[in-house]
């Protein structure tokens, strides 16, 4: 993928030419915005001080930069700067929030509630706690990917200390009813953590309106650098306490020791500032591009399936199953386009996406899914190229698909007794 080429769509329509390969996997990561890079650069060579050095100018400059970033982040999510704790990224933030609360509130209870479609950073942290004597409820989701608030209400008991439900899903982009979840938690005196990495900068997130007590943030999903994130920890109504998971010099008000990564923190702050200013315009543009892609695919292909709610969804996300075509072979046919598949063949475990399975999709449909993540730097010409290339490839692979042929002949695939053992 190191070479770049310029190409026009195969049918030679009058589209603007696009640069290949096309990156359309913005839920995995995003490129760093050049304006963010510019803001970061002085903090490597010129203002390189340790933000914890209290007795000279190098330290003061670094500390000032960190405090500015803290304010930029706080402003984007409706928090105060003292409520922002810097971490190495969202996985650490999730670990710190969940383990930190579990340990701090152990005497109050040992029950945690989460959802089946959470990121592994949350699910595996919960599984670790289960081994240590905690009880975890994994809420199911509907076909739309949303949890049911009644299920949540029923799951909360007098031992419940934490509910952790993501703001937006990384595969299907579905937005959970976070404000309602938070309200319910507060009524029951339970803390509410949300992994909001996919939502921040894409949709309006406000910790007060959304009743959030702890929130995981990362830079690299919003055009900032990798390796830096933050945890929002509410300071009043209620005042949330967490047990530190990394011991050391007592940085970040004792919640997370370790020398601050100043350039990356500056980058996270700048990325939040840009998102704050540009989100209203940008989210409209992304939704337009996403809907354009969706319409082109729907107009030209039969037997396609949208995974998850379209109504409650991130503007740049589309997750679609191209039934009777296997996901990995589809990716192979569109190898100048970077997207993701829920196919088992693309994962290390040879299991199809657990998120899609949680929606009630059969393995066969999950195997056929593609996730598109449209971002800040994608253009309309790219969307058109992706649509055309995908339509061509799906048609070609369906010519090759015995399942598609059988379905067209009126055979019910579910009535066939497939030899599944051993594969």
């Amino acid at each position: 993928m190191s070479t770049t080429a310029v190409a026009t769509p195969t049918n030679g329509n009058a589209h603007a030419s696009v640069k290949l390969p096309i990156y359309m996997d913005n839920h995995a990561t995003t490129p760093v915005d050049p304006r963010v890079v510019q803001a970061m650069l002085p903090y490597y060579t010129e203002h390189f001080g340790n933000a914890a050095s209290r007795n000279h100018q190098f330290g003061w400059e670094a500390e000032q930069a960190v405090e500015t970033a803290r304010e930029q982040i706080a402003k984007l999510v409706g928090a105060t700067s003292k409520e922002i704790i810097f971490t190495s990224g969202a996985t650490e933030s999730d670990n710190l929030a969940i383990k930190g609360v579990a340990e701090m509130y152990r005497e109050k209870g040992n029950h945690i509630i989460t959802a089946a479609t959470e990121h592994k950073a949350v699910l595996d942290t919960c599984k670790r706690l289960e081994k240590n004597g905690y009880r975890v409820t994994y809420l199911p989701v509907g076909a739309d990917g949303l949890i049911n608030l009644e299920d949540l209400k029923r799951a909360i008991d007098d031992k419940t200390i934490l509910v952790t439900i993501m703001y937006a899903n990384n595969e299907i982009g579905v937005l959970q009813p976070v404000a309602e979840i938070g309200k319910l938690c507060h009524e029951k005196g339970v803390l509410f953590h949300t992994d909001a990495v996919q939502a921040i900068g894409k949709v309006p997130v406000n910790v007060i309106k959304d009743n959030i007590d702890l929130m995981s943030i990362t830079a690299h999903k919003l055009y900032g650098p990798k390796g830096v994130g933050a945890l929002y920890v509410r300071r009043k109504n209620p005042r949330v306490q967490i047990t530190a998971q990394i011991d050391g010099g007592g940085h970040e008000r004792g919640m997370r020791s370790g020398t601050l990564n100043v350039p990356n923190i500056v980058g996270l702050g700048k990325a939040c500032e840009l998102a704050m200013n540009e989100m209203p315009e940008e989210s409209k543009r992304l939704a337009y591009l996403r809907d354009r892609l969706k319409k082109k695919l729907e107009d030209n292909l039969d037997e396609i399936h949208i995974n998850g709610s379209m109504e409650h969804r991130l503007p740049g996300n589309l997750n679609m199953s191209f039934v009777y075509v296997e996901g990995e072979s589809l990716l192979m046919g569109i190898n100048d386009i970077a997207v993701s598949s829920g196919s088992a063949c693309t994962s290390a475990t040879l299991e199809p996406s657990y998120v899609l399975k949680a929606l009630g999709l059969g393995d066969d449909v999950a195997h056929s899914s593609i996730r598109f993540g449209i971002g800040r730097f994608n253009t309309e010409a790219e969307v058109d190229y992706v649509a055309e290339k995908l339509i061509d490839t799906v048609k070609k692979l369906r010519e090759l698909s015995p399942l598609y042929e059988m379905v067209k002949e009126g055979i019910d695939l579910k009535k066939i007794q497939w030899a599944t053992e051993g594969h």
């Binding site: 072979s329 393995d363 090759l400 399942l403 066939i416 007794q417 497939w418 030899a419």
Partner: protein, 141 residues
């Protein structure tokens, strides 16, 4: 994952894609794999009743690039072979020819299964006096 050039070639230019008349007495059909597993191969042969030579071989595959390549290669290899010689093809031959990585060996196993299933179906038709139009998998439906 990096594919070998041979896998890419078969994916881009699959050999012998198509469908033979499964009800014909000279045609054997093998349908192996399962949609839930992400791989289904259908391999068909047309056998000359006098010479026992496989004159036509066609396939259709739902699966990853390696599965498509394995079945495409299988049709290429069995075409022109006598039925008994086609049965001698082993999945390891396919692995070697396509340089399949360990995680893709099941694709070659499936291709060998498909050859055996197609020949088995053809043999079954000739074991009975009356031609029976069945497919291996569908027969159990």
């Amino acid at each position: 994952m990096a594919y070998s050039n041979k896998v890419i070639d078969h994916y881009n230019n699959p050999r012998n894609v198509g469908t033979l008349d499964k009800s014909s007495n000279d045609v054997g059909t093998g349908l192996v794999g399962a949609p839930e597993c992400g791989d289904v191969m259908r391999l068909q042969i047309k056998v000359n009743p006098d010479t026992q030579v496989i004159e036509e071989a066609k396939f259709k595959t739902f699966g990853c690039g390696s599965a498509i390549a394995s079945s495409s290669l299988a049709t290429e290899w069995i075409k022109g072979k006598k039925v008994e010689d086609a049965l001698a093809i082993k999945n390891t031959d396919i692995v070697k020819e396509l340089s399949l990585p360990p995680v893709k060996i099941h694709c070659s196993v499936l291709a060998e299964d498909a050859i055996r299933a197609a020949i088995g179906d053809w043999k079954k038709k000739h074991a009975t006096a009356e031609p029976v139009a069945v497919e291996t998998a569908q027969a159990k439906a």
